[in-house]
């Protein structure tokens, strides 16, 4: 079942096109992420779903209900959409206690007092804040404020949950903790969630579905693994994780020319004779002893080698090209060493230049 879908969703701010005819559908219970650099239109898209920003064009459907349709003049106001939202700044009301913040949505729905108390208690227990119910927000840490925001957003059992860069105000360690907690909570409640972030690690770790956005368009949609392993463009490859690029010319569907060398590739998507870019993740580059034989082996020289604990980062000069390899931790390589650099054909992608 589809929980949320958008059709040709467009937003102009004056003459600038912030969101350009975007289509997406999110299945019930999934956590979908809009990932992209700042200014790519991801937050605007989220705010249009929320009802806080009015789309210039397009249609938004929430479950069975059309909440916005420019053509039919339908625009359900934000307060009637039954959507929970966590803001980047959390927007915890500083003049109300934690319990007051969480009870607010229930008061609007005119629930009886004891019902409100019970649900506030339950949801605060869910986010492990039951002991802080009577505190004021100014007395809470960033992580605790984040939980209050989350509790307030889910307490009225919204149809979907929107998260606008909710982790960006937390320090690195807390961010990783909250990442896991939010994902666990979302799966436990089966809450359809739309998440916006510029942090690719967050997107990969938490999502069922990632939509990479750039310049107002969705450039690729898929499960995190597919986005990481099979990016469709240089932009996606580069934005989602670090990667190496090599400029080549295609000879045929299985061969490409890199300088004066021929490389085995799998290029079904581009015509022979075309210029192309080979991309390979650092962890897929294999550093071997010099002089080994076999396909796709480039002679290399070590520039720097950095031991990272879990692995060793080796920066190489491979046949005149800069390459970065994440070699196993036990690899010992010193500046100036001659090595062999193997680029396994099944780990390489051929992209448009």
């Amino acid at each position: 079942m589809v929980a949320l879908s958008a059709h040709q969703l467009t937003k102009h701010f004056g003459t600038t096109l912030a969101v350009d005819a975007v289509d997406f559908t999110i299945p019930d219970g999934a956590l979908a992420t809009f990932l992209g650099p700042s200014g790519c239109g991801k937050t605007t898209t989220l705010r249009m779903v929320a009802g806080l920003e009015r789309p210039s064009q397009g249609r938004i459907t929430l479950g069975e209900e059309v909440v916005f349709d420019a053509a039919q003049g339908i625009a359900v106001p934000a307060e009637h959409r039954q959507i929970g939202m966590v803001f980047q700044s959390y927007a915890i009301w500083p003049h109300m206690t934690v319990a007051g913040n969480v009870a607010f949505p229930l008061g609007i729905r005119r629930l009886p007092r004891d019902e409100i108390d019970r649900r506030v208690r339950d949801v605060l227990a869910l986010v492990q804040l039951d002991h802080l119910a009577e505190r004021y927000p100014a007395q809470l840490s960033g992580g605790q404020q984040q939980r209050v925001a989350l509790a307030r957003a889910i307490v009225f059992q919204p149809r979907i949950l929107l998260l606008d860069e909710p982790l960006s105000n937390l320090d690195a360690k807390l961010r990783e903790e909250m990442r896991g907690e939010i994902r666990e909570l979302q799966q436990r409640l089966g809450m359809t969630t739309l998440f916006v972030t510029h942090d690719q690690a967050e997107a990969l770790a938490m999502s069922d579905l990632v939509a990479v956005m750039n310049a107002g368009k969705i450039v690729q949609v898929g499960p995190p693994r597919a986005i990481y392993e099979r990016p469709v463009s240089r932009f996606v490859a580069e934005f989602v994780g670090w990667t190496n690029f090599l400029p080549v010319t295609l000879v045929d569907r299985t061969t490409a020319r890199l300088g004066d060398r021929l490389m085995q590739v799998a290029a079904d998507n581009l015509a022979p004779g075309a210029a192309a870019t080979l991309t390979i993740r650092p962890e897929d580059v294999v550093v071997e002893a010099a002089g080994a034989g076999g396909p796709n082996l480039l002679p290399g020289k070590v520039r720097t080698s950095m031991f990272m604990g879990t692995h060793t980062i080796v920066e190489l000069d491979a046949a005149g090209h800069e390459l970065v390899a994440h070699a196993p931790a036990q690899t010992t390589a010193n500046r100036g060493d001659d090595v062999g650099v193997r680029l396994p054909v099944e780990r390489m992608l051929v992209l448009s230049p």
């Binding site: 934000a78 939202m85 803001f87 980047q88 700044s89 927007a91 609007i108 957003a153």
Partner: protein, 556 residues
């Protein structure tokens, strides 16, 4: 640095020290006196003194309530809604801010006095009333007129709270299902409470200190407040009752000192109210739908009654020899005679020159001093910088009448030719308004990165050169705004001037006050029109040249 510290301490403490001495001794400043408690005893056994105390508090509280209510509504409409014409209304708030009180009083007398007031006449005709419904020369009238014209001060403090509010606070409420009115009541207003509380305390102090309206509307009817009774004791009674004046001034000073201390505590506490801030964006505008025409009409009516109608009445009055009762026949008596008469008035010409000189040069000196003090207090790491700032800020709690009396005493007893000259007015204005200039200048200084001056220091510039070549030029917008504010304030100052002006140092506000008391309506109206045109010209030029925004006048 030491010199600056000594100077600001001297400016603030020297006159007050003499006031204190004066309140505990017999006789006038011209004679030697002996220690006594008698001044306080006499002052508080003065007939009607308890009525004066009550009047002072009722007036201060009433105008606070009125101005804070109007200022809050106006601030919300202008900063947070899509009401059409917001930019115009914001400019009109500035005009209202600049509207000299003496002109406001005069105009409202012509509108609301029982027999002659235009509004009374219209209401009596429309509703067939026997008696005029309003009398401006009453406590209600005083509160009404004062409220309208101090509303911009409340606006200045409250508007930034609305404008910089994190709108995701309200969006979060919308997402939980709350509608506009509930969001306004439960989220927006509570978030502005700290600013509204500060505005209330500050406005209350301003009400206690106010001289112009209690003097012009209340005193002739025997409704005194502390400042007008102080003036009555020194400037009206013959011989002047210095004992009463100084004892009342010291009492009033203690009250304002306590309240300003409370204000500082309140504003400091409001910082604790802040939680995590999002991106530093301006608060989003609330779409009022069709209600935006209601708010626009409300604003238009407000400014019609506070700016356009009073100014129109003044223009009309300036073309009449005597305003009298409003009738259609008065349009047959129109004359341009007032303007030549005004210009032929030698005391007025002197006063205009004195006022302009004080406003332009005195204003510049005040701003420069504020810049040095601000630099020392905010940018330097010098020991004692906090004390320098404290002394510079102290006079913010000196009521004009109190400081006027203190300076009068302080400079009479010194054998220097300062009393009775323009110089004593310059000292008075600079002392009293240095805190206001400092606040405006500090806003610019706090925003300026320390690295600019640190870079200058690293190139080998000493702090004097750093101040002149780096800090002052970078502060130009804040300095221009502060100077403009000083210009406007100095040109209109009455509470101190009226006690310090003698034969040789007349200023415009005092001359206009004299026209008011002696019933020279035509001259007063003509002078008002000229003054208003002068003020507006300077404001519009300054806005164009220096790109000054009204919000820069806001308090820190």
């Amino acid at each position: 640095m030491v010199a600056v510290g000594v100077l600001v301490a001297f400016l603030a403490l020297y006159p007050i020290a003499w006031l204190l001495v004066g309140s505990f001794r017999t006789g006038t400043p011209f004679e030697t006196g002996e220690f006594t408690w008698g001044n306080y005893v006499d002052a508080y056994s003065e007939q009607g003194i308890f009525r004066t105390i009550r009047n002072t508090f009722v007036f201060a509280a009433g105008q606070t309530a009125g101005a804070v209510l109007l200022g809050t509504i106006l601030a919300w409409i202008i900063t947070r809604t899509n009401t059409p014409g917001r930019a115009v209304f914001e400019f009109l708030t500035l005009v209202l801010f600049l509207f000299p009180l003496i002109m406001a009083v005069f105009a409202w007398t012509m509108l609301l006095s029982p027999r002659r007031g235009l509004i009374n006449i219209v209401l009596m005709a429309v509703f067939g009333l026997e008696e005029p419904p309003f009398d401006v020369a009453s406590m209600g009238g005083m509160i009404f007129v004062q409220s309208l014209y101090v509303t911009p001060l409340a606006f200045l403090i409250i508007a930034p709270a609305f404008a910089t509010m994190d709108s995701s606070m309200e969006e979060a409420a919308r997402m939980t299902g709350a509608r506009t009115l509930r969001i306004l009541g439960r989220i927006t207003l509570p978030l502005a409470i700290p600013a509204i509380a500060s505005a209330s305390v500050l406005l209350f102090v301003i009400g206690l200190e106010s001289f112009d309206i209690p003097q012009m509307l209340g005193a002739p009817k025997g409704i005194y407040t502390y400042p007008s009774l102080i003036y009555h004791a020194i400037g009206v009674r013959y011989p002047a009752d210095y004992g009463l004046g100084t004892a009342l001034a010291m009492s009033l000073l203690l009250a304002t000192l306590a309240l300003v201390y409370l204000y500082r505590r309140l504003t400091r506490r409001s910082e604790r109210f802040e939680t995590v801030k999002g991106k530093g964006h301006r608060a989003a505008v609330v779409d009022l739908g069709p209600w935006r025409w209601v708010t626009a009409t409300g604003c238009a009516v407000f400014f019609f009654f506070t700016v356009f109608l009073p100014f129109g009445v003044l223009v009309l009055g300036s073309f009449l020899g005597f305003f009298g009762r409003f009738t259609w026949a008065m349009f047959d008596r129109l004359t341009t005679a007032n303007y030549p008469r005004l210009i032929a008035h030698p005391r007025l010409i002197d006063a205009v020159f004195n006022s302009l000189g004080l406003a332009v040069i005195g204003g510049a000196v005040c701003v420069l001093l504020a810049a040095v003090v601000g630099f020392v207090a905010i940018k330097s790491r010098l020991p004692g910088r906090g004390l320098v700032e404290a002394f510079a800020m102290l006079p913010i709690s000196f009521p004009a009448t109190v400081l006027g009396l203190a300076l009068l005493w302080a400079w009479i007893v010194v054998p220097l030719p300062i009393y009775g000259t323009v110089l004593i007015l310059a000292v008075a204005y600079i002392t009293r308004y240095l805190p206001v200039a400092l606040r405006t200048v500090s806003g610019g200084l706090i925003q300026m990165s320390n690295e600019f001056e640190e870079a200058a220091r690293m190139t080998g510039a000493g702090w004097g050169r750093t101040f002149w070549r780096i800090i002052l030029p970078l502060m130009r917008p804040a300095l221009a705004a502060a100077w403009l504010l000083m210009f406007m304030t100095f040109v209109r100052e009455l509470g101190m001037s009226i006690l310090l002006v003698g034969r040789g140092n007349a200023v415009l506000s005092v001359v206009m006050f004299d026209y008011y008391t002696s019933g020279e309506q035509g001259l007063l109206a003509a002078a008002s029109v000229l003054l208003m045109l002068m003020i507006l010209t300077v404001v519009i030029i300054a806005r164009q040249v220096f790109k000054i925004r009204f919000s820069q006048f806001g308090s820190a």
